[in-house]
């Protein structure tokens, strides 16, 4: 294992300290329990939005804390859900009297811990709603699985719901919007390499030089299919067709196209992926109205990408364009 760290068990804490040193003008960091919160929290009369999950996906979620997006983020250990005490303390810290929305990615541990935290928050008299994102088409959605994973749409939902909360929309409205965004979004990812968690020091799976994993998760878990490495055009067609056929997206639709890097893939390759996606969608009469390209929901140093499409309406476009000022996403301010 070659990593720029001091000690494996200090990784999360030291990264949080670095974030606080870098962005202390905008963010406050609590270390025990661990959460990152907007410096001006709680904002009176505004719905507070809290998300969280395992570390190792940076900038998600801590990099999305700030005006126009999240009020707080709870980082767990690397690839491990945070704990209920973190989430309930963050919930209290951002409660401005209008209730708190938890945006939870659909993973067994995240859902269980946020469930317990919501109970704790309600016990303190705070109105809490939770929306679980589950946009990954690589996973069968049935009663007999843990259900689809929450991936790329989570970032987009946090941005759009953050803008709605800034407009002082009610908790019910922000939660409904979050469900609507999740329902109109689909994603799929792939990997060229595994990743190495600092605590294990070992690759999360073995992959030959001439192989790729299609339908990858974001925690180093192997994908659904192992296939021979193919050119970017074929990889994009594989991912995009699974996404487009699932919702389905059809001719005349307007979409937000999100090409996400897994952490170890350079931007030059992500633009090639975007090029292929653009052509793929154009041939099908689907218009890219907005786009996001870069490393936003990563899996440590894994090489690979994911594609997320969101079917847009006018309200979503307006809220996407609204000002946001966070370490990782910033425009209009």
């Amino acid at each position: 294992m070659k990593k720029l760290i001091n000690a494996p068990d200090a990784v999360v804490r030291e990264a949080l300290e670095g974030m606080e040193m870098a962005y202390g003008d905008r963010l406050r960091v609590s270390y025990d329990p661990a959460y990152i919160v907007r410096r001006d929290a709680p904002v009176a009369g505004k719905v507070g939005i809290v998300s969280g999950g395992g570390s190792g996906h940076e900038p998600m979620h801590g990099g999305f804390v700030g005006p126009g997006m999240l009020d707080a983020a709870c980082p767990g250990e690397v690839f491990t859900s945070p704990t209920p005490d973190q989430m309930s303390e963050a919930t209290k810290a951002v409660n401005g009297g209008a209730g708190v929305l938890h945006i939870v990615k659909n993973y067994t541990g995240d859902v269980m811990n946020f469930d317990m935290a919501a109970d704790l928050g309600r016990g303190e008299g705070i109105e809490v709603q939770a929306v679980v994102t589950n946009d990954d088409v690589a996973v069968q959605d049935s009663l007999y699985t843990a259900g689809r994973r929450g991936v790329g749409i989570t970032v987009i939902a946090e941005k759009i719901c953050g803008a709605a909360a800034e407009e002082r929309r009610s908790l019910d409205e922000v939660a409904d919007l979050c469900r609507r965004v999740n329902g109109a979004g689909r994603s799929m990812g792939m990997a060229l390499t595994p990743c190495i968690t600092p605590s294990s020091g070992q690759p999360s799976f073995e992959l030959g030089d001439d192989e790729m994993e299609i339908g990858i998760g974001i925690h180093g878990e192997p994908g659904r299919y192992r296939e021979p490495l193919a050119p970017a055009a074929q990889v994009v067609e594989r991912l995009a067709s699974a996404i487009v056929e699932d919702l389905p997206y059809s001719s005349g639709d307007r979409v937000l196209a999100f090409v996400n890097g897994m952490g170890g893939t350079p931007l030059i390759e992500l633009f090639i992926v975007y090029r292929e996606l653009y052509k793929y969608l154009q041939e099908r009469g689907i218009t890219i109205e907005r786009r996001l390209i870069g490393n936003y929901i990563t899996s440590l140093e894994m090489a690979g990408c994911s594609i997320t499409l969101l079917k847009l309406d006018d309200e979503m476009i307006r809220l996407w364009d609204a000002p946001v000022n966070t370490p990782a996403l910033r425009w209009g301010t």
Binding site: P33, G54, G76, E77, V78, F79, T80, S81, P82, T83, P84, D85, Y107, T108, G109, M112, N113, D115, M116, A138, V139, Q140, Y144, T145, A146, R149, T197, S199, S200, Q202, S204, F205, G217, H219, G220, E221, P222, R224
Partner: protein
């Protein structure tokens, strides 16, 4: 210890918790390897961190009774483990504490009640059924074995030995299963052929109880 009386007290429960913490530490790499195969590779690390904190909290207790000990361990796991294992193992110990109530000692019947309460708590939180390739596949046979031992009138040492053997058989039976809960379920058929890490740590839980209660 308690070979003759057929019951366990708070001190025996504390011995069990120390033995479980040692077992998790000894098997940490194995749990990580199993979880790397079909999950995200953090089970051994997380449980080890959690049990270290649990023992610290347990040692700080003024009341070394059964329920107080189990509750301290459960709360420590919930607030330090994360993932699915934190809430699930936290629930195991909190439900056992509730079941034990203010009893100063548990006989085979009381111990069987506690393990049954842990099983129903885990199933309520994790929504897993036997056969889903989860910790339930080790815990459910252990609970059944204790009930059978209770019906046969066995003392707690022999009953717990049988529960540990049943948990081991249940753990091994997860190898050919296709996962239907937790992160392993994302793999679908690719989860077949691997032993479930949660069932493995649950076997360690029961095995360490058998060792602790036998005074070994």
């Amino acid at each position: 210890m308690t070979q003759d009386s057929g019951t366990v007290d708070g001190a025996a429960i504390q011995t069990w918790m120390r033995r479980f913490a040692e077992a998790v530490d000894e098997h940490r790499a194995e749990l990580v390897a199993l979880d790397t195969a079909i999950g995200d590779g953090d089970h051994g690390t997380n449980m080890d961190r959690g049990m270290r904190k649990a023992i610290t909290q347990m040692d700080a207790l003024a009341d070394g009774g059964i329920a107080a000990t189990l509750k301290a361990v459960g709360m420590a796991l919930i607030s330090s483990v994360g993932g699915a294992a934190g809430p699930l193992y936290g629930t195991v110990f909190l439900q056992m504490a509730n079941s034990a109530g203010d009893a100063g000692e548990l006989d085979t019947a009381g111990w069987a009640d506690a393990v049954a309460a842990a099983l129903s708590g885990v199933q309520a939180r994790g929504k897993a059924e036997p056969g889903d390739k989860t910790m339930v596949d080790a815990l459910a046979p252990a609970a059944e074995a204790l009930r059978a031992a209770q019906a046969e009138g066995l003392g707690i040492v022999e009953a717990t030995q049988r529960a540990a053997d049943a948990a081991q058989a249940g753990m091994e039976a997860t190898i050919p299963m296709e996962a239907r809960r937790g992160r392993a379920s994302y793999l679908g058929p690719r989860s077949v052929g691997h032993q479930d890490p949660g069932a493995t740590s649950t076997h360690l839980l029961l095995r360490s109880a058998a060792e602790a209660f036998a005074g070994s």
